[in-house]
Symmetry: C2
Subunit: 251 residues, 2 copies
Amino acid sequence: MQEHRSLIWQTVGMGTGKTRADNRAAMEAEIMRLGREHLRTQGAAGLSLRAIARDLGVVSSAVYRYVPSRDELLTLLLVEGYNDLADTVDAAADADNDADRTDGASGSRKRLRRMAIAMRAWAVADPARWALLYGSPVPGYSAPAERTTLPGTRVVGRLVVELAAAHRDGDVRAQLPPISPEVAADMRQILDEFGVDMPAEVVAAATTLWATIIGGISLDVFGQYGADTFTHPDALFTTQVDAVLSLLFDD
Amino acid sequence: MQEHRSLIWQTVGMGTGKTRADNRAAMEAEIMRLGREHLRTQGAAGLSLRAIARDLGVVSSAVYRYVPSRDELLTLLLVEGYNDLADTVDAAADADNDADRTDGASGSRKRLRRMAIAMRAWAVADPARWALLYGSPVPGYSAPAERTTLPGTRVVGRLVVELAAAHRDGDVRAQLPPISPEVAADMRQILDEFGVDMPAEVVAAATTLWATIIGGISLDVFGQYGADTFTHPDALFTTQVDAVLSLLFDD
DNA sequence: TGTACATCAGTGAACGCGCGTTCACTGATGTAC
DNA sequence: TGTACATCAGTGAACGCGCGTTCACTGATGTAC
């Protein structure tokens, strides 16, 4: 009423010479930031627009100027999470591997290893977002496939592409665990989707790597490992990833 | 007030010649059943004593005669879930393997395979319980370690014991992925805990199998696989498990 | 450059719903003599 | 076998809290002429 400049102006240090568009952008960013924060403390099921309004120093209905509904905010956070993770993993994959250059492992193998480690680091840094992406589904919320599928498959996609490159370069083991015709058919479907080519057995092995990564991270990050069972969970994870990679590569 | 016999008496067909103890037992069982049902539809975060009271046909405060609090019910469901899963897995492990007797795979390998498949079947039959055990933690709820640790480690425990037996029988590969001293130390700690002996490398490989199983099941059951990416998710899972088993066994 | 008008961001009240938990109570069941 | 008493299971009201979402409103910002 008398106070039309909300808390955020003081908080973020705005308030003079700024346009409506700036305000809007700052507000939206702040809502996302608070969303991530509430995810951390309350979980996705407890994400609440009212709570965000409170932290924003604004009346609850004001949030509706920026976000049409709670579910929509969840979707925004989900998409942001997928993209953030994928960016992180891409960066790790594309980083030069200066230090590792001495050992003889293939570039792809090293890239895949770095990708897995980057995923884990991302998850450990913000377990709640990991939970949103790969944890139990949020009851009552169903992600709109047309908006989440693309970002949601970026990481696996990169993994598959990386393996296709490795196979092209002749780095992948000739002898891989055999697969059934049904599984092979599904794998060929995936190859089509990502527009790459390699034997179905390699894709199947890729899904095994994928399962190991997801499982290894989730077990750790969701607190399944007892308080002090593992003194070096990062080393354990790397061991698990290396083990599965040794199925795929022989150097 | 005038109706001291709650719905359950009609529902379960009791009401004559039954003692208080019978009522109590039936009531407790029904509360657990409804708890599982609400888990399925509302998720753990949405588990509510009031909702259970409603379904029970009883006033909300009446539930407190049977369960001291919501968190306590969650703990009961968690412990029941762990034990139910462990019983299922034990049964699968101990089943005779008549049909498979022709192929040459070792008994342990076949047992481990059956255990993994049984886990997946259990999870697919009731995804919400799987989510409770291995999904994202329930915000605001912290499981009491002294009551959940034992049931919660039964399945991994059996897995470790099974591998120790396989190693004793000389069925495990001599060449396993190498591990670092830190990881080896943690693995020896586990061997102590479960009172078995084998090389640390074997335990490390066991955790890889564990991660793959958990990841493979969760990805499927939490809906991470798109609607129709995999026409035979069960076959895919078996493929993944077999791949990791082939790290451990050479027959 | 100034003014009229349109847009926008926030308010505050309200609707209708949910929850966990406590409490004094009553009538039915069970038990000890 | 009958009776007095204790225990138990359920009631209903209440406390104090949460939520998403809509709505008519006002004052500030921005825009077109």
